[in-house]
Symmetry: C2
């Protein structure tokens, strides 16, 4: 399958990218999106069908008459693998090239332990996935990675990874070129989520405005935004765009590890929420959390980042079961997130904001607090049509986005297949 | 000249736009930027020279050998007029189609008095400019407007103009179609500045990266940002992008007219600076301002927005002459602006921020306070290559941007010339 990728002609790449964004386009739709002549299109499509890239089937939503034919990626051509790496967990998904999920697996990791520890674990997860489906590495078209760090997009190298010192300058591409011999596309974790959401929106509503402007916000250990401007991922001048976790929400607030005062993550990052809940457990404001801390023998010990005794899921459960203090902590976090997003809504005027990440679904109050805070603080014109929702791909936004990235970049970039 | 505009072919429009962005491109450069064949390009260029749009001259920066020829707009073809409308003042500039300024004039206005009062004043300024150069309206290719309000860009209609109730739904295009019979392009005042800066940057460094990401920030009665994303003005989902004056800088701050607490304009808007300086004059912290208030008989009267007794220029002068209180007020304003911009730098990762508007040059501390605050509060990666400077076109950013808008939209949009 690697050879097929290397042999793609420029025209064929354009057609494959059109199919990628449209889901199952008819030839007529491809004529419009590529601007090719009928002859040129039909010839290239015939080649792509012959080489196994595309297949043609009846479209379902025809309105009488002979149903038009739709083109799509041929699932049997090969596979892509998406990896979503977070601070404490890695998710890996195997999909076919039609981007239909086949199997998901995950492992707990500590990203701070560096690539020497983390990468072999990821390699093992990938090897196990392939083995359990009797697949060889050369049936994998490409790998896509979402990394919790700024990325130099062209080279896929991590730059300035905060709290990930061992990863500075690490090249995922080189790592897999020498082990699996598979091309690798890498982007920041939130950009990957945004790509997944953009792809998912388009293939489900192909006729929609192609110049979407929206944000995907990931709430986890860190807080970041993926930006879609005029229908393309926006990465900024240094590939650092979307890094909003250290935006100031209160200049009189406490000092942050970054050196400034009152950063958003001090109230809304996963560790801050856990710390606040721990304190609420300790000072008898939260009986539910107190019970958990007691059980772990930590109720009378000071809070430690490395060993908090409770998880974000514990806080979520306490909140769902009606724990007042947990709900207040979540509401405050949501309100602070909303304050930052309100400023970004004034600035960027997105049509929608999609909220994802482990902390997004921590309790029913999170999304409603964010919404309330944004609508109260943004200017009326910018919120006239604004919608704020969960990511449409739910918890799979990151890994499915990584698969979308793997396929899209393999199609777009001839250099990627030259390992 | 209107007829010439209507008769432009699609290919000719593409060539003219390439010349617009490149300043004085050679034919070889036009081949690259348009993607046309040599025959097609030469034929269209010949037509454009014959019809008077373009002229061809020797390029100056040739390195020996026969100097290549450069194409540029023929100044004698006609004129464009740029109008930069602010809250209290309107600037009008007459340029030729090569965008060389010919004459500037301005008038004090109160934009809140509505289009019925303001528009006839603008018409009069335009008529006087034309008359003093013995020009007829039909020698004017188009008008460009920067308006202190969100704009529906396609139609040029004002939407939701805050504090400009009488302008809601007003169509500048209709107004001038019936009076001057000249096509009109309209955008938000800060977008117009951003377009002017983008155009100016490109024609002076044509070889530069075409995918610029930068911000232009206008400091005046209101505070707004013009956004250039991947080399194009970014307007957002509802044309409301860049409206950052009501971003929150302190949730514990005073209440703003918008209903929220701690908005940026409460410290850094022109009226807030004037009010703070007035208070400093009244409570003996600023002798310089006290003298001015005394002279106007307002030292013992309460501050009134409509009749403050001092202007922003008075505060600027006091600061330049070493008035401590005025400098502190400016420094605080700059620091708050920097806090908001730091958040936007984290989010948008621009390559540069250009500061303009009447309040930008209020005193030497303004720019340095903004810089200090941004560099201290933004994440290191985003500020690695960031530059913060004054707008390159200085105070003329708005009006010259309006001329650039007039010419660009006249070239791009066949519908504009159909009045």
């Amino acid at each position: 399958v690697r050879e097929l990728l290397q042999n793609l002609q420029a025209d064929e790449r354009i057609i494959l990218e059109s199919v990628f964004w449209a889901g199952t386009p008819s030839r007529h739709e491809l004529l419009l999106s590529t601007g090719f002549s009928k002859t040129k299109l039909n010839e290239a499509v015939a080649n792509l069908i012959a080489s196994g890239w595309l297949e043609e089937g009846e479209l379902q939503d025809s309105r009488g008459g002979r149903p038009p034919l739709g083109l799509s990626f041929a699932p049997k051509l090969g596979y892509v693998i998406g990896v979503d790496l977070g601070a404490t967990r890695v998710d890996v998904i195997l999909s076919n090239v039609a981007l239909e999920p086949i199997e998901v697996c995950h492992a707990s990791i500590d990203v701070r332990s560096g690539p020497g520890t983390v990468m072999p674990m990821i390699s093992k997860l990938i090897a196990d996935l392939l083995e359990s489906h009797h697949l060889e590495p050369d049936q994998v078209l490409s790998l896509g990675f979402g990394m919790p760090s700024p990325i130099e997009f062209e080279t896929g190298i991590l730059i300035n990874p905060i709290l990930m010192a061992g990863w500075e300058g690490f090249s995922l591409r080189d790592y897999f070129a020498s082990s699996l011999e598979v091309p690798v596309a890498v982007d920041n974790d939130v950009n990957v989520m945004a790509l997944g959401e953009l792809w998912h929106t388009r293939i489900n509503a192909p006729a929609q405005d192609r110049h979407e402007n929206f944000l995907v916000v990931k709430l986890g250990t860190g807080i970041g935004a993926g930006i879609v401007a005029r229908g393309e991922i926006y990465r900024g001048a240094d590939g650092a765009a979307g890094d909003i976790g250290h935006n100031c929400v209160d200049p009189h607030g406490p000092r942050c590890v970054c050196g400034n005062f009152g950063c958003l993550e001090l109230w809304a990052g996963a560790n801050s929420i856990i710390q606040s809940a721990t304190e609420a457990g300790r000072n008898a404001q939260s009986p539910a959390i107190a019970i958990l801390l007691e059980k772990n023998g930590l109720l009378r010990k000071p809070y430690l980042l490395e060993k908090p005794g409770i998880t974000i899921e514990d806080v979520a459960r306490a909140a769902r079961e009606g724990d007042h203090a947990s709900n207040e902590i979540i509401q405050d976090a949501g309100s602070r997130i909303g304050q930052v997003l309100a400023g970004l809504v004034n600035f960027f005027n997105p049509a929608r904001i999609l909220i994802g990440g482990r902390v997004a679904r921590i309790g029913p109050l999170m999304l409603s607090s964010i919404r309330q805070s944004v609508y109260a603080r943004s200017l009326p014109l910018s919120t006239r049509a604004l919608r704020i929702d969960y990511t449409r791909l739910g918890n799979e936004s990151g890994m499915r986005g990584a698969c979308a990235l793997a396929l899209l970049e393999a199609i777009r970039r001839p250099d990627l297949a030259r390992l």
